[in-house]
């Protein structure tokens, strides 16, 4: 006999069973949307790779040069460390530029080539589409650049070891000095928190302008902040907004300023800062995330109204 309570539990089980595939279906649409983005914007992963290859090539020349003067060069910590810092900075800088380019182009590009009509003819919501586009600069590019940097630095170490082998310089010294593991941790922290979370409002603004601009999104992205800075300077003779923007790009005050040319002691000091406690109590972070959420919500809404240009 079916009692009312049985009926309720059965129907609940039914909704739960339906809810689980719905979540899977949502995740599936999201993952396919990300895959699609990477097909379209191969620049997103090719550029860091190309930067890494170019860097490795110049590093090889550097190390071969070094070997020729091996006995006249005074070996200092910097001799080893500087190229590693440079490699990190180069790949990170590339990631930032590519991320900015991507977020400015993605929603504008689909309107320009009219393919938005094709994407909208498929059962993918505007929310899924915009979130997948946001994931590229916020998650994919930082993680991918991190991986590229780590592999690059590992190859650099291996290259220097091979070149210096038999030249009388101890290679174990090299591996210790470069503090490979510590550097990796700090870099991962930097990529995920600063590039992922701290920059979120910047990418959100770019996406919004990409969805909104009737043409030339780069102009629309730069012009409003520029005008605000100008008006503020003229009317109040202050530069708060300019500093505000600059600070957003510089990263939060509490981030461990990373330098591989620090002593092991200093490394330990900075390692303690890796606990993201300071970062997550920073009001600037939360303010930025709220602003980013508003930009993204506006972008989702705009995409719904947008058709080909």
């Amino acid at each position: 006999m079916t009692t009312p309570s049985n009926v309720v539990s059965e129907s609940q089980a039914g909704t739960q069973a339906a809810a689980v595939p719905a979540v899977f279906a949502g995740a599936r649409l999201f993952l396919w949307s990300i895959r699609r983005e990477l097909w379209e914007y191969r620049i997103v992963y090719l550029t860091p790779l190309i930067a890494a290859v170019i860097f490795l090539f110049s590093f090889l020349i550097h190390i071969l040069n070094l070997r020729r003067h091996i006995h006249s060069v005074a070996w200092t910590h910097e001799t080893f460390a500087v190229p590693y810092e440079l490699s990190g900075a180069l790949i990170m800088g590339t990631a930032l530029v590519v991320g900015l380019y991507y977020s400015l182009d993605c929603l504008y590009g689909e309107r320009r080539d009219r393919s938005i009509l094709f994407w909208k003819s498929l059962p993918v919501s505007d929310l899924t589409a915009v979130l997948s586009k946001l994931t590229i600069p916020l998650v994919f590019i930082p993680l991918f650049s991190f991986a590229v940097t780590i592999v690059t630095q590992f190859l650099m170490l291996t290259l220097s070891s091979l070149v210096l082998l038999g030249s009388g310089v101890s290679t174990s010294e090299l591996w210790v000095h470069s503090s490979f593991l510590m550097f990796s941790l700090i870099l991962l922290y930097h990529m995920l928190l600063v590039h992922g979370l701290w920059y979120a409002p910047i990418y959100g603004w770019m996406l919004l302008m990409s969805a909104w601009s009737p043409r030339a999104p780069v102009v629309w992205a730069i012009l409003p902040p520029f005008i605000i800075c100008g008006v503020e300077k003229l009317s109040l003779n202050t530069t708060y907004f300019l500093h505000f923007i600059a600070q957003r790009f510089m990263g939060p005050d509490s981030q461990p300023s990373m330098s591989a040319s620090m002593s092991a002691n200093q490394h330990h000091h900075f390692a303690s800062q890796l606990i993201p406690h300071h970062f997550f109590t920073e009001p600037g972070l939360w303010f930025g995330l709220v602003v980013a959420a508003i930009f993204v919500a506006a972008t989702v809404r705009l995409r719904r109204y947008r058709g080909p240009i």
Partner: protein
């Protein structure tokens, strides 16, 4: 349940009225031709049906509100827009893979079967294909989706004669069955007239004629008369008249076929001639009213 049901559907762009209170009901299993001059509001109507534009009034497509539920509606609705909208950078194989990934009703083997009949290769990028081939690809993708409503907005625009004929042939033989509904707009009326079951003429945001093809056949008669009988024919109040070699052709609405047969040769008018008579004359009257 009707496939499309619109009541007092209205859409304005600033001062321009694109849709001026349209009432339309399309049952499932019909092939509806939406015919009208440029700027009649056909594309706006289709965009509203597809959830691409907001509107005033009431509109249900397969029981859903298109503007609020576009993504869910697109599981049952497919569309091909007026020009090739497939992204130029995508590879044919990737396009198949992506649609298979996001569309629960896409049958990949079917799409590959359709493509095998063309010269398109899976390794091609869309930008390497000709315009006709891109349309073939889009049609292959769409026909492999088990949808209930297919919307075609000028699907054969800019294609050569062979591609155009092939397009409608494959649509009819491989895709259409009595459960699916197709709504199509085109300027090449003569190509689709044997395909349609229903006809809607639009002009300046309004529907000026709405009928099934059977109704058209019983209601409208075209009469070819020799000059000496023109006066008698004109007395029966034709809605349109044109000169042809060796006589006049008059178009009648709601006039007895037998009566007309006595005056000359009668036949059912082509959609193009009917369109000129109904929409062309309306336009003339409206202009006259303004003057």
């Amino acid at each position: 349940m009707a496939c499309i049901e619109a009541r007092a559907l209205r859409k304005t762009y600033g001062a321009t009225v694109a849709l001026d209170g349209i009432n339309l009901r399309v049952e499932e299993g019909r092939i509806l031709g939406l015919i009208g001059p440029n700027g009649a509001g056909k594309t706006t109507a289709l965009n509203a049906i597809l959830g691409l534009t907001p509107y005033q009034g009431e509109l249900r497509v397969l029981g859903r509100d298109p503007w609020a539920e576009r993504d869910q509606l697109m599981r049952d609705v497919c569309f091909i827009a007026d020009v090739a909208v497939l992204p130029r950078w995508i590879r044919v194989a990737d396009a198949l893979e992506y649609v298979a990934g996001v569309h629960p009703r896409f049958d990949r083997t079917k799409a590959e079967m359709f493509l095998a009949r063309t010269t398109i290769r899976l390794t091609n990028k869309v930008k390497e294909l000709s315009k006709g081939m891109v349309t073939q690809l889009h049609l292959a993708l769409v026909m492999a989706i088990d949808a209930r409503l297919l919307v075609l907005d000028e699907p054969t625009l800019g294609l050569d004669l062979l591609y155009r004929k092939q397009f409608y042939d494959s649509l009819l033989t491989d895709y259409f069955d009595r459960n699916r509904t197709i709504v199509v707009t085109t300027h090449q009326v003569e190509e689709i007239e044997h395909v349609l079951t229903d006809l809607v003429f639009m002009d300046r945001g309004r529907i000026v004629l709405k009928a099934t093809m059977e109704e058209i056949e019983t209601r409208y008669v075209e009469l070819a008369v020799r000059p000496e009988r023109v006066a008698a024919a004109r007395a029966l109040k034709p809605i349109d008249e044109r000169q042809v070699l060796g006589g006049n052709v008059l178009l009648f609405d709601h006039v007895d076929r037998q009566q007309l047969a006595a005056l000359g040769d009668v036949r059912t008018p082509s959609i193009a001639d009917l369109f000129v008579a109904v929409v062309g004359n309306n336009a003339g009257q409206a202009q006259g009213a303004v003057q």
